[in-house]
């Protein structure tokens, strides 16, 4: 193959993944001991909604269906991530196997 595509070493990929994990663990360490009650780890979407409500705006339509509890909501979020992960895992596994056969 004539392609001059440069790919990364496995070790580089692992370092990148670790950097990513550190970025997302840092806030948990920095604000350890705090919680939703004192205003930490709330969603930015909700914060924006509160900002809008502060101007006395009345939402004129509400969701047709809402997850009845936090458990059901986390179930559906997990389902969303799982659907994505299955698709990526399937194709990446398939392509990797294909490459080995060639």
């Amino acid at each position: 193959m004539k392609h001059k595509v440069i790919i990364m070493k496995t070790s580089t990929l692992i370092i990148l993944a670790v950097v990513c994990i550190v970025i997302f663990i840092a806030p948990l360490v920095m604000f350890s001991g705090h919680g939703e009650d004192d205003g930490y780890f709330g969603g930015s979407d909700d914060a924006a909604s509160e900002q809008i409500e502060a101007s006395n705006y009345e939402p004129w339509f509400s969701s047709i269906w809402e997850p009845p509890s936090g458990e059901i909501e986390s179930l559906l979020f997990a389902l969303q991530a799982a659907i994505g992960a299955i698709i990526i895992g399937y194709f990446f596994g398939y392509w990797r196997g294909q490459g080995k056969e060639e």
């Binding site: 930490y40 914060a47 979020f77 969303q80 991530a81 992960a85 990446f92």
Partner: protein
């Protein structure tokens, strides 16, 4: 970046819907063309959509002390352009509006505009600009994903400031940018890194297909 159901005045809902429907329609036309020319790219479309599915479901903590989610829209934009990515974003946003009460049907047009149009358009321009300058596609995709994610949230802040310019447009914009954009910076860096990892593997497994789609830097093809 989700504007919640009912949180946008009707006029704005309509404006964003009209713009978004036009782009999504063009995206569907483009998908047909791409799939006809390269049937193999169906799998790449699925992977791009799946990447958005995963990333937009992850509510991650930020150093500002609040949580937000990445978008995953840079990958699809670099591979297929902004209009196709708008179609993929629409699927994700409908899933979240119907099943998670996250975002909404009335605000769907506005949310497609930020996550499916502005973000991917910025990502696509950044990606094409950097690769044309002969910068490695792996480095280009980092900046594309980073800025695509960040600008998605900047777009939402503008949309909300247009609809709720109280007390002034500038003050409202600052307030919404503080909520959205500042929180988003570390998340956007994380999204950039994750997109680089996926991109690297795509280059390893499917270099010919990426080349056919014109998605590699000129010196890589």
């Amino acid at each position: 970046m989700h504007i919640m159901e009912g949180y946008l005045p009707l006029t704005w809902c309509i404006i964003w819907f009209v713009i978004s429907i036009a782009v999504v329609a063009f995206g569907i036309y483009q998908i047909k063309k791409i799939v006809d020319e390269n049937p193999e790219s169906k799998a790449l479309l699925a992977v791009s959509g799946a990447f958005m599915f995963i990333l937009s479901s992850l509510k991650l903590p930020s150093v500002t002390g609040s949580c937000s989610h990445p978008c995953g829209n840079g990958l699809g934009a670099a591979l297929f352009g902004p209009a196709v990515t708008a179609v993929l974003a629409t699927i994700v946003l409908i899933f979240q509006a119907l099943l998670l009460a996250h975002g909404g049907l009335t605000t769907l047009g506005a949310n497609i505009f930020s996550m499916g149009i502005v973000g991917p358009l910025v990502a696509w321009l950044v990606y094409k600009g950097l690769t044309k300058a002969n910068i490695s596609s792996t480095i280009a995709i980092f900046f594309a994903a980073f800025l695509g994610d960040l600008l998605t949230y900047v777009a939402t802040s503008f949309q909300l400031a247009f609809a709720f310019p109280a007390p002034t447009f500038g003050a409202a914009l600052t307030a919404f940018l503080t909520i959205f954009a500042v929180t988003q910076v570390p998340l956007a860096i994380g999204e950039g890194i994750l997109t680089v990892i996926i991109w690297d593997r795509l280059k390893a497994y499917k270099p010919k297909l990426l080349d056919k789609l014109g998605a590699l830097a000129p010196n890589e093809a």
